[in-house]
């Protein structure tokens, strides 16, 4: 028993020792991000300075920053960001909820496996962008069509990833749960879903990225606000600096959303990271 405790204590020490102090880790990560961004800006500036592309189509970093400032000062940028975020968030929540719920059905029930899964397998490869005209036909040019497009695009990766995780629970865990007397519902809630949590979260992160791709497509028609509309306008008026700035904003929002999901779900995925 004494050696058991000693071994466990050593294991804890190893785990603790392997983890860098929180502040140092955060500073290290931020430094990495800053250096990476600086290198990307430098590379962009070099290509712009060489002049192999027309200046109007390949603006310099200061010109892109100036375009961003002009958008901010015009008062359009913040409402556009908020509206796009709202549409993306609503579509993401609906698409994720439906994706996870259907993944539970297709993995845990015979009817879902036999009837629903083949239909979803046929639906999954259809490019969501191709559904935009259909969404407009069905829901008009208002908010519903935009949210529907985002939700459909989010649904596919969330369902695929969640289904994969939920249908591959190790047999050992299921046998242990059966021997302990757990019914199907308890097994699903406490064994199958938590064990699949890392896969479900991976699907959510891909889905979040997809939401930002699709919001641009959805906002190119039938609206006069949103980052997608602003990008479309910039293209129409050959404002590459405005267009690139909006794309950078989308990138920042997408990366922030990804980090938000990763951090919010860490309590349910930490065990898997520690197992690796």
């Amino acid at each position: 028993m004494t050696s058991d405790v000693a071994a466990a204590s050593a294991a804890r020490t190893r785990l603790a020792g392997a983890r860098p102090p929180a502040l140092a880790g955060a500073v290290g990560r931020l430094s990495g991000v800053a250096i990476g961004l600086a290198l990307a800006a430098l590379l962009w500036s070099i290509v712009a300075a060489i002049g192999i592309f027309p200046r109007a189509l390949f603006p310099t970093v200061p010109e892109i920053a100036a375009a961003g400032w002009a958008l901010w000062e015009s008062g359009d940028l913040l409402p556009d960001i908020l509206l796009s975020l709202q549409r993306a968030a609503v579509g993401f929540v609906i698409g994720s909820a439906v994706g996870i719920a259907l993944a539970v059905l297709t993995s845990a029930t015979a009817a879902g496996r036999r009837l629903l899964q083949p239909v979803l397998r046929l639906f999954a490869p259809i490019p969501t962008i191709g559904l935009v005209p259909l969404a407009i036909l069905w829901f008009g040019l208002g908010e519903s069509s935009k949210v529907t497009v985002v939700a459909l695009g989010v649904f596919v990766p969330v369902w695929i990833s969640s289904h994969a995780g939920l249908s591959t629970t190790p047999a050992d865990f299921l046998q242990a749960a059966r021997c302990l007397g757990a019914n199907r519902w308890l097994t699903l809630r406490r064994i199958v879903i938590p064990e699949a949590a890392p896969d479900i979260v991976a699907g959510l992160r891909v889905g979040a990225a997809m939401a930002f791709v699709l919001i641009v497509v959805a906002e190119m028609t039938g609206t006069t606000h949103g980052l997608g509309f602003r990008i479309y306008q910039a293209q129409l008026f050959s404002q590459a600096d405005h267009l690139i700035f909006c794309l950078i904003v989308l990138g920042v929002l997408g990366a922030a959303s990804d980090q938000l999901i990763a951090r919010a779900t860490r309590p349910i995925t930490r065990w898997a990271a520690e197992e690796r």
Binding site: S3, A8, R12, C179, L186, P194
Partner: protein
């Protein structure tokens, strides 16, 4: 609880030779039966049938005369690998078994502590996750979780095979202690002759899917590991077991 195998035969799809062939076995209430045999002799397959995890191709298993058709916490199972739920804390692992057995939630915390004490663990570890524990501690938590279901029979499939020698001896002491204190029935699978001699009332030797012999263990208890060989009858029993475990088909070179 009396557990019986009646002509249990198991043949997995695509195989020519059955893994178990017409096994008849009677596990008396309160006994400590050890199944020994070389790899592939059918020990674990038989244990899975007794647990209700595997349905025999022919024959059946009965528990107090009723046919076993599915696992039940009355027949607790300890697997070769400690199958603790890695995303749960020690407390949640044991509480899962309590919840599965219908124990009210307000009783979980005190019961978890009782069970940890029963297997020689401190309640300080309740918040730790399995990957923060040593192999021996994980097996103890696994035993506590099995005991949470109030099993009448403890079915143990080489649970200590992956442990170091010292930890293994301590775990053997713990199992014997639990068996004698709680008066449960134990069916224990091993391929280690000394482990079988140290633990058992009766040793069932399996070979090529059939019961080759059933030997009562005459050694008095307690059986300390360091003086096991000094006990009267040890050498004869060990010699007999080795003889029984000889392959029926001579190995050719």
């Amino acid at each position: 609880m009396t557990l019986q195998a009646h002509g249990v035969t198991v043949q997995f799809p695509g195989t020519v030779i059955p893994s178990l062939q017409e096994i008849d076995l009677n596990i008396a209430a309160g006994s400590f039966t050890v199944l020994v045999g070389p790899s592939g002799s059918g020990k674990s397959t038989l244990l899975y049938c007794l647990a209700g995890l595997l349905e025999p191709t022919h024959g059946h298993v009965t528990e107090n005369g009723e046919t076993v058709t599915a696992p039940h916490p009355r027949r607790g199972m300890a697997f070769q690998r400690d199958i603790l739920f890695t995303w749960m804390s020690v407390e949640s692992n044991i509480a899962f078994a309590l919840r599965a057995s219908g124990v009210p939630a307000r009783q979980h915390r005190p019961r978890v502590r009782e069970l940890l004490t029963a297997v020689g663990l401190s309640e300080d570890i309740v918040r730790q996750r399995p990957n923060q524990l040593s192999g021996g501690m994980r097996q103890r938590v696994g035993l506590a979780r099995m005991l949470a279901g109030e099993p009448e029979v403890m079915l143990m499939d080489e649970p200590f095979a992956a442990l170091d020698a010292q930890t293994r001896l301590r775990m053997q002491d713990l199992v014997v202690d639990l068996w004698s204190r709680l008066r449960r029935t134990v069916v224990f699978v091993t391929h280690d002759v000394d482990e079988a001699i140290r633990l058992s009332d009766r040793i069932v030797v399996l070979s090529e899917g059939a019961v080759r012999s059933s030997i009562d263990n005459p050694l008095p208890r307690p059986r300390p590991a360091d003086s096991l060989a000094d006990l009267a009858g040890y050498s004869d029993l060990r010699r007999r077991l080795h003889h029984e475990l000889q392959p029926t088909i001579p190995l050719t070179t």
